[in-house]
Amino acid sequence: MSLREEILTVIEKNSRIGIDELAAALGAEEITVANEVKAMEDEGIICAFHTMIDWSKTSIEKVMALIEVKVTPTRGMGFDSIAERIYKFPQVSSLYLMSGAFDLMVIVEGKTLFEVAEFVNNRLAVLDTVQSTATHFILKKYKDHGTILTSKYEDTREKVTP
């Protein structure tokens, strides 16, 4: 693995690791690692640092829906221009171009079911190029971004073993 790959492997799972600790774990100089991280941010390889939150454990209500969208691609632009018109809405948290029975998968976040429904009805479905939508509400998250949300890792090993 190259140093870049090594860095990405570690920080993909643990973005809070300090540069000093990261450099030590990779057997590299701190300055080298810091420069690589900075360069990868500049090149858009490292896009953002997020915190994964299980909102269902807070008193804050969140509703998430996964919407399958069929669209008519525009001449010369393919799906990109319609995609742009959709992802600019702040309600859209993710947007993917798909192979198969539909074209775009839109993941929408809102405070209430009503709010999400309003977005689909008044913003998404009415776009010229949108042929149809199918909305699926997310009922429970078991695992997200490789992290199991329903149970925590517990060290059940004996404390001292040969």
Partner: protein, 388 residues
Amino acid sequence: MRNPLSDKVVEIKPSGIRKFFDIVQDMDDVISLGVGEPDFDTPWHIRDVGIYSLEKGRTFYTSNSGLKELREEVAAYIKRSQGVTYDPIKQVFITVGGSEAIDLAMRAMLDPGDEVLIPQPSYVSYEPCAILADATPVIINLKEENEFRLTAAELKEHITDKTKLLVLPFPNNPTGAIMEKSDLEAIAEVIRRHDLFVLSDEIYAELTYKGVHTSIVSLPGMAERTILINGFSKAYAMTGWRLGYALGPEAIIQQMVKIHQFAIMCAPTTSQYAAVEALKNGDDDVAVMRAEYDRRRKYLLHEFAKMGIKCFEPYGAFYVFPNIKQFGLKSDDFALQLLEKERLAVVPGTAFGDCGEGFIRISYAYSLEDLKKALERLRHFIAGLSKE
């Protein structure tokens, strides 16, 4: 009433780790770096196959030697990793962990009066197993200046006309030492010349961080005088499945199987099915775990250097074996005080042989975050010692 016990068994010292374990058990808030098993769960696809085998009702004994399919996979693994061919029917058999294979190899090969060379520091079971097999253990004290590798000179020094077997425990628990090909070549020559046999415990073979592991069986003339022991515990994080294996000359393996069939019958069936999956499709899992261990290893060595703790660079297993002589405490006292003052558990080097005095074993089968927390406690402890 007569004494119900065997003198031979009573005279065996209890493991030094046991004593420590009992103290730790009664304490709260202990962070431990004292564990000799992986922190990873067994990869899910392997567990899934185990579960599926239960669902299908594969709940019977297997043949004494183990599932044929598993023995074939084991032989194929040794062929591709070491280039040595073993007959899966006659020269491979499946045991209840590497531990059983160690016990059986000694019992099958040794008679009263035979001497067994045991390099230390090393795993706790070799010496008792040799005694239980009525043989005489002869300890070779490995040295820090040799990175705890066994040298040809050390080997020669301990050979008598009674010497029959050499235990070769590399990559090593507790030191993390490895034997590279050139190291092995040097001792193989002595072994052949003195007509010795080898019990090569390679349970940590996959956890090597400098090149790939070389087994002594890959050297000329060595496969015919070596029992190679390995298993699934460390490479695939399968300690609780209790599954290992032994490969060697047919004559020795068949006698080992004989004891095994009377004492054990066969290794756990569920574990054997899971192990087939591990060998067939587990290489990527091993690579991911090895990379993670390697990062932790480097991190620890870096932090030790910052704290001024002397530690040779070990390239195997998941242990580091720092030298604590500068702090003026015996290994036992160091570990005990570290536990009492800072609630941090490590294992004193002396648990693995007298020559472990002046060292402690630190396991890195813990996440980087846990290691960081533990090192804070170690740093605090050492700062306290320097002030005294």
